[in-house]
């Protein structure tokens, strides 16, 4: 209960600094996600009230854009770039190998493992293809046989 009230308080604070105009909806969603890690149903309802739009519309935005989450994020995030240059240099193999190593699919959140695996269309670092980003750190020219080391580091970090 207390968590819920805390969350509402946070959302209220984020809303109160924005004018109640529809154009600030996206900015609000960005901020709420940065603060809480995802966009909860409660946050969507509160935003709907504040901006005077149906909740369905907000839900529509949250699910349309790939940047917003409707589930909590993980401590560790691995992103594999699927840009054209990365694709040509075997990025789908990397996804496959990570899927095997982590025992999970792309786009899947595994909070109990503390890892989420994502793909992204293009990070624009094409000359370093294929690119894997682990918790914000970029790895370029990644080979499939290097992934177990990268994934292994995350596991140890988790165990700590």
């Amino acid at each position: 209960m207390k968590d819920k009230e805390e969350e509402r308080e946070k959302v209220r604070a984020l809303l109160s600094v924005l004018p109640p105009e529809k154009r600030y909806l996206m900015l609000f969603l960005h901020r709420v996600q940065r603060e809480t890690g995802w966009v909860t149903e409660e946050a969507q309802r509160m935003a709907a009230e504040y901006f005077a739009v149906p909740v369905s519309e907000i839900y529509g935005l949250v699910t349309f854009y790939s940047a917003f989450r409707t589930e909590p994020g993980s401590k560790n995030e691995i992103t594999v770039c699927q840009g054209t240059a990365c694709h040509l240099r075997g990025s789908s193999r990397l996804v496959e190998e990570l899927t095997r190593l982590l025992g999970m699919k792309s786009g899947q959140e595994k909070p109990e493992k503390g890892v989420s695996l994502k793909t992204v269309s293009c990070l624009g670092c094409c000359a370093l293809a294929p690119v894997v980003v682990v918790n914000g750190k970029y790895f370029g020219r990644v080979r499939a046989d290097q992934l177990s080391e990268i994934a292994g580091k995350l596991q140890t970090r988790n165990d700590e």
Binding site: E21, K22, R23, Y24, L25, M26, L27, L29, H30, F51, E57, G60, L61, F64, Y65, S66, A67, F68, Q82, G83, T84, A85, H87, L88, G90, R93, E96, E97, R100, V120, S121, C122, L123, G124, C125, C126, A127, L128, A129, V131, Y138, G140, R143, A144, D145
Partner: protein, 630 residues
């Protein structure tokens, strides 16, 4: 942080004079630190320079400057030492002390660290000798070598805001529009609409309130020209937009940047803040009486937002669905008001056009496309990076002379231009000049500037499938031709790569593609089938090979390819055995290794680990091996 505020024209001019007259240090070390530079370790290199400069007491004679993108993506992080213009590629913190010792103190180049082409060991120590730069005309990118993207002072020192001065104080808004029109500048986002004409239409459109938008939602995978500009020279975009506002009669502007570019967002935001603080944005700019507000809007990861009407919906806070045009945004745009929406590179071209004049701008280019265009040259070519070339340059010059041709032993078969909306230009057509019309006639588009070189190790079907999957995932789903067409094309192409295709499928692909082209609501849907249609046009044989002979000539399609180990080349290092995810490599009684085709999933990890060392693992058509149960 610079808190200087310019209230009048003389304020700015005097300040520039002051900056230009202040003494400079003997050396300038410029380190490229845009996103890819950072990914490659630029921050560590910068720190190493800082340490070394301090250690050797060179603070008074050496200035270290963190710049944006130099465009040599594959040599990142690199440094250029001025005034000599010595170029050091692929720097590491370990190499930095030698550069400082020999070049900054000793005045000599370090032969082992400068650029050399592997083949003959010839070295290219100076920037102007680099083969990568030879054919380029770097009007915009040139400044990236010496400009600190986060410093307003730096920009002012580089003749920044001179074009704004001229526009606000010497010529009328009408004349600004005429200059842009006369330059022949066309939209750099891909559609190629004449920028001056767009401005005139918006200027003449009725309405008090008008808006400008900078489209920085660079979504084509494999293209990063706009990221390069926003991360390296954000003030030029700001200046271009203030001039645009003055010309069109707009009071507000929006810079829309895609979410996936955090550094571009950060640097654009910083530029906006310092321009506001300096009085270059806001009320009564430089005392001219003209007021203009500019703010940044952050995208949230949707390719469709690159389409102008979808982008407008996104800024308004609506679901980003494209809408029917006309009315065009110049008449009815953001919040129903006349809106000029131009691409990042288009805006960046405005200040030089105003400052140097339309004749200067039009000095290079093709008959229908004047000026230079930035391309991101990537893929299977020796040298990759951002290249700026005059429109009308031949594709062969870009691929062979700037890009250095194929990697050894490979054959380049095509260039994919225009990303998912574009198509393939086969090597046989590389004599074509690159401009809007010629590429369109050849069945592709120039697009925003992605040039992805593909060689014979790329499968055309796999590439087409890649693009169509992208289009399917990013289709907004509003209209049936695009939503269903992309999904059906993916189904058919997936059958092909799995070896389950039918020759009739090719006709079906063609029919679906034509329907999508004719009936989709927006430009993205209309161009989505292009990768497939151009593959059918130029590489039908390769497609047919998949269908008739069950063979993938490039050896990419997993269902059609298998691997074997050539014992005469195998060094028994066992790397393949250890890295095989399926445990499909077994040791024979005689000690040699063998791939068990019944276990092999065709993933190719063994091939990729062995390729650079012994090339003992080779691809063979899957139909040539006997797999149990098949």
């Amino acid at each position: 942080m610079n808190k200087r505020r310019f209230r009048s024209l003389p304020d700015l001019r005097n300040y520039r004079e002051h900056l230009l007259s202040s003494s400079r240090k003997r050396h300038l070390v410029s380190v490229s630190a845009a996103s890819c530079g950072r990914a490659a370790g630029a921050v560590e290199v910068i720190e190493a320079f800082e340490r070394e400069i301090e250690k050797r007491g060179l603070e008074d004679s050496v200035e270290l400057r963190v710049t944006g993108c130099h465009g040599f993506c594959q040599f990142e992080p690199d440094a250029v030492i001025f005034p000599e213009k010595i170029f050091y590629p692929n720097l590491t913190p370990e190499k930095v002390p030698r550069v400082v010792e020999d070049t900054l103190i000793g005045g000599k180049i370090v032969p082992g660290l400068v650029y050399s082409e592997d083949a003959d060991g010839k070295i290219f120590p100076y920037l102007e000798d680099l083969p990568f730069l030879k054919k380029q005309v770097r009007r915009l990118l040139d400044r990236h070598f010496t400009l600190d993207p986060e410093s307003l002072d730096g920009y002012v020192q580089h003749d920044g805001f001179r074009a704004l001065e001229k526009a606000l104080f010497e010529i009328s808004p009408e004349e600004v529009v005429n200059l842009v029109l006369a330059s022949g500048l066309r939209g750099r986002g891909g559609a190629g609409f004449p920028t001056g004409l767009k401005w005139r239409l918006a200027r003449e459109a009725p309405g008090e309130e008008k808006y400008l938008i900078c489209n920085g939602d660079e979504g084509d995978p494999g293209a990063y020209m706009d990221r390069g500009l926003m991360e390296s020279n954000p003030f030029s975009i700001v200046e271009g937009m203030i001039i645009g506002g003055y010309a069109v009669g707009a009071t507000r502007g929006f810079v829309y940047v895609r979410e996936e570019y955090p550094l571009a967002i950060e640097r654009m935001e910083k530029a906006l803040i310092s321009a506001r603080e300096a009085g270059l944005l806001g009320e009564n700019i430089l005392g001219s009486g003209f007021s203009f507000q500019l703010e940044l809007v952050r995208g949230a990861g949707a390719f469709v937002c690159g389409e102008e009407t979808a982008l407008i919906a996104s800024i308004e806070g609506r679901r980003p669905f494209p809408r029917q045009r006309p009315p065009f945004p110049v008449v009815k745009g953001l919040w129903g008001r006349p809106t000029v929406i131009n691409n990042v590179e288009t805006w960046a071209n405005i200040p030089p056009i105003i400052k140097e004049g339309p004749a200067w701008f039009a000095r290079v280019g093709s008959p229908t496309g004047r000026g230079t265009k930035i391309f991101s040259l990537v893929g299977q070519v020796r040298r990759t990076g951002l290249v700026e070339v005059p429109l009308g340059i031949r594709m062969s010059e870009v691929v062979e002379e700037i890009g250095g041709g194929p990697a050894s032993g490979k054959i380049i078969k095509a260039v994919q231009t225009g990303g998912p909306s574009g198509g393939l230009l086969p090597a046989s057509r590389f004599d074509l000049p690159i401009d809007y019309e010629s590429l369109q006639q050849a069945g592709t588009i120039m697009g925003s500037g992605g040039l992805i070189v593909i060689d014979d190790s790329t499968c055309i079907v796999d590439l087409a499938l890649y693009y169509l999957k992208f289009a399917r995932d990013e289709s907004c789903g509003q209209c049936a031709p695009c939503r269903l067409g992309t999904a059906r094309m993916v189904d058919i192409l997936e059958k092909m790569v799995d070896g389950r295709g039918d020759i009739e499928d090719l006709n079906l692909l063609e029919r679906i593609g034509r329907t999508m082209k004719e009936a989709s609501l927006c430009g993205l849907g209309r161009t989505a089938p292009n990768p497939v249609l151009s593959a059918l046009r130029y590489f039908r044989e390769e497609l047919e090979k998949h269908l008739i002979e069950n063979e993938c000539p490039a050896g990419v399609c997993r269902a059609l390819v298998s691997y074997e180990i050539d014992s005469s080349k195998c060094a028994l290092c066992r790397l393949c055995l250890e890295s095989c995810p399926a445990d499909g490599i077994v040791e024979m009684e005689d000690g040699y290794l063998k791939i068990d085709v019944n276990i092999c999933t065709g993933c190719g990890v063994c091939y990729s680990v062995c390729q650079d060392m012994f090339s003992a693992v080779r691809k063979i058509p899957r139909k040539k091996v006997k797999v149990q149960g098949e």
